[in-house]
């Protein structure tokens, strides 16, 4: 039996622009993944709890409002707290170059800045899912 990989796409914080999140959810679906989408305006704790219940291999976060430095690491922390440090967290949005290293250091597995192609995004998810 093949092991399907499940991914959760979430939007932490208050930013309601979910065009990118939805496009990526679709691209992942079209690449054969099962994607749980939790909608906009969720707290890091809610996203992590959902990811654990859904037992996803990876969580993709999107934030366009500039709050990523606070919100993305918070999701990593909540997952660890819930005994699910193995669930990979990836993130994207309007993220300045300088912040990428900060996020990577905080345990985010991959960071997508504006202009990243869908293919790259899908490949990054594939890479972390295959590790599991």
């Amino acid at each position: 039996m093949t092991t399907k990989h499940r991914i959760l796409i979430g939007k932490p914080g208050l930013d309601g622009h979910d065009r990118g999140a939805k496009v990526i959810a679709r691209a992942l679906r079209d690449a054969g993944y099962e994607v749980v989408y939790t909608g906009i305006r969720r707290s890091p704790a809610e996203i992590a709890a959902a990811a654990i219940q859904e037992d996803v291999a990876a969580v993709g976060l999107s934030s366009l409002s500039g709050a990523h430095l606070r919100l993305f690491p918070a999701v990593v922390e909540e997952l660890r707290h819930g005994g699910a440090a193995d669930i990979a967290v990836l993130g994207g949005g309007v993220i300045p170059e300088d912040d990428v290293a900060v996020l990577l250091a905080a345990g985010i597995k991959a960071v997508f800045t504006p202009g990243t192609s869908l293919e790259e995004v899908v490949q990054a998810f594939a890479a972390v899912c295959d590790e599991q």
């Binding site: 208050l14 065009r19 409002s65 869908l118």
Partner: protein
């Protein structure tokens, strides 16, 4: 010029009246070499089709513009959306912009403010002051407009679900400055329907939200007659990934819903219709964009006159603000964005916009710096003063291509409105996800086209270079959040809390009756009740809308 009787009639009436009331910017508009630029080019043989489809500017169906002389009379309002961090910081930026020739303010609020949370709310974590200015109480609003004469500038506020509260604050600040209510000019966005499908800053369910909007229409109609009570926005629908046709169709479908709701509440059509404003996106497909603006104007005129039976010509006119398309800006080779913005701004001007925001080159990276904001403003000024496009009215009329595009957009957008009505109207179509799916499908197709190089984005999927230099970025310091919270805490101690509680109770009492809530909210604001406190009262009464797929 023409000898056609319809032309003569227009020239003798609309045009003459307009010239008398608003003289043109110059006595003569000329090309280099002293040839005169015609005010309005018309076909040699004006026929019935021309009169039905285009007509003359300032005349039904307004395809060619809402004023007879357009930018020869007065240039569009150059209105740069700005706001970040604290009220004091934003106040400085506004005064900078006014000093550099902006002619209207446009306030961006941070997300907690837009969603009716105070800066000390759990969900506000990390968001305070990020995408706009944080406003918790009247005190912040007083700081925001300190030394800016509200009787002179017009202020546009991008605020939707809690629009009533921010409008109340604005009114009270103006009053404290001694400005007469009749002189308050500006616009609140106040367009909640598009929040459910495209922008996400909703608070309450659709039906109570529509009621708040109607209350604002009514209150402004009798108190601040010069204030635009809504800016029905296609901008965000387009940013969310819709096509030009969907932008027009969905926006006008929303507009129809607002009009119908207000009529159902017993408001007078020709009183509130004059104060409806629109807000569109100027994206990259130059001619399609020009056609879109023209088609939208014609459609709205027909909807208001034929469908709703409005009799006052001002009710027929679609007046709109335009912003260039943020989603077309790239993080790669950021200077290219200046060129994109120029083309997009040009389409808005060729399409007859009433006001315009030009995006800054670095917006795909962060908040714009002061320098890039100035370049964006200069872009408008170059179009206005150097390009010559402002010297004549609707210069693309009569182009086979542009007219066919205009007709096509009208047809397809009308069809979309029809499908929404068959589906039970906008609210029903939001609830069953029809509208969201329309937009998502278009967004996905667009992205695929880029992936497959069917669509070239310069610097992104072609003409790519390795970039070394990073442009300077503007960041909001993390301390801003803590400082704002501290200010709010202090204020909550110092104000008269009995007064606050009483005003909030009165609001709660009336929320479920059909009393107009605006005066009650003004009373809360005056007592320095916070935005979050006021919205919490309404959340308690109206419930919260929390779902969207």
């Amino acid at each position: 010029m023409s000898n056609h009787p319809a032309y003569t009639k227009w020239a003798d009436n609309q045009l003459a009246k307009s010239l008398q009331r608003f003289p043109e910017r110059r006595a003569r508009f000329i090309h280099h070499g002293n040839t005169e630029v015609p005010r309005l080019a018309v076909p040699a043989d004006i026929d019935q089709n021309y009169l039905d489809q285009l007509g003359f500017p300032g005349q039904y169906p307004y395809t060619r513009g809402v004023q007879p002389t357009m930018y020869r009379g007065r240039l569009w309002t150059m209105r740069q959306y700005a706001g970040f961090s604290t009220a004091a910081e934003s106040n400085k930026r506004y005064r900078y912009l006014l000093d550099h020739g902006t002619t209207g303010l446009s306030v961006a609020f941070d997300l907690p403010t837009q969603i009716g949370y105070d800066s000390d709310h759990d969900m506000a974590l990390g968001e305070v002051g990020k995408v706009g200015v944080a406003i918790d109480t009247l005190a912040d609003m007083e700081t925001l407009f300190s030394k800016i004469p509200l009787g002179k500038v017009s202020t546009s506020m991008t605020i939707n679900s809690p629009a009533m509260v921010l409008l109340a604050m604005y009114v009270v600040v103006a009053e404290k400055q001694g400005v007469a209510m009749a002189d308050i000019k500006g616009t609140i966005q106040n367009d909640v329907l598009k929040e459910y499908v495209a922008r996400g800053t909703y608070i309450f369910p659709p039906r109570p939200s529509l009621r708040l909007i109607t209350d604002i229409f009514q209150w402004c109609g009798s108190n601040t007659p010069a204030f635009n009570t809504i800016s029905i926005s296609g901008y965000h629908i387009r940013e969310a990934g819709s096509t030009a046709v969907q932008e027009v169709g969905l926006t006008l479908a929303n507009a129809i819903t607002y009009v119908q709701t207000a009529l159902d509440a017993g408001l007078e059509l020709d009183v509130f219709a004059r104060r409806l404003a629109f807000f569109f996106n100027a994206s990259s497909d130059l001619f399609e964009e020009v056609a879109k603006f023209r088609a939208a104007r014609r459609m709205w005129a027909r909807i208001m006159k034929e469908r709703f039976g409005a009799t006052n010509p001002s009710s027929w006119m679609l007046r709109f603000h335009t912003q260039t398309a943020g989603n077309t800006l790239t993080a790669q080779q950021v200077d290219n964005n200046i060129v994109r913005v120029t083309l997009q701004a040009l389409s808005a001007v060729l399409g007859g916009t009433q006001s315009l925001h030009t995006n800054s080159r670095d917006e795909a990276l962060s908040l714009p710096t002061e320098e890039s904001v100035r370049t964006a403003l200069r872009t408008q000024q170059v179009i206005a003063h150097e390009s010559g496009v402002a010297n004549t009215v609707d210069p693309l009329a009569g182009s086979y291509f542009v007219e066919q595009l205009t007709d096509r957009i009208e047809l397809e957008a009308t069809d979309l409105i029809g499908r929404i009505e068959d589906g039970g109207g906008v609210v029903a179509c939001i609830e069953d996800g029809f509208i969201q799916r329309q937009i998502e499908n278009s967004a996905y197709d667009y992205q695929r086209e880029i992936e497959e190089q069917e669509r070239i984005i310069v610097g992104v999927n072609d003409f790519v270079v390795d970039e070394e230099s990073k442009p300077p970025l503007l960041r909001v310091a993390p301390e801003v959040e803590d400082e704002q919270v501290a200010r709010l805490t202090t204020l909550k101690h110092e104000r008269d809390n009995a007064d606050v509680a009483a005003s909030l109770d009165r609001l709660a009492d009336k929320a479920r009756t059909d009393t107009n809530l605006m005066p009650l909210v003004i009373a809360c604001v005056r007592a320095y009740a916070s935005l979050g406190e006021i919205c919490d009262v309404l959340r308690g009464e109206f419930g919260e809308y929390r779902d969207r797929q």
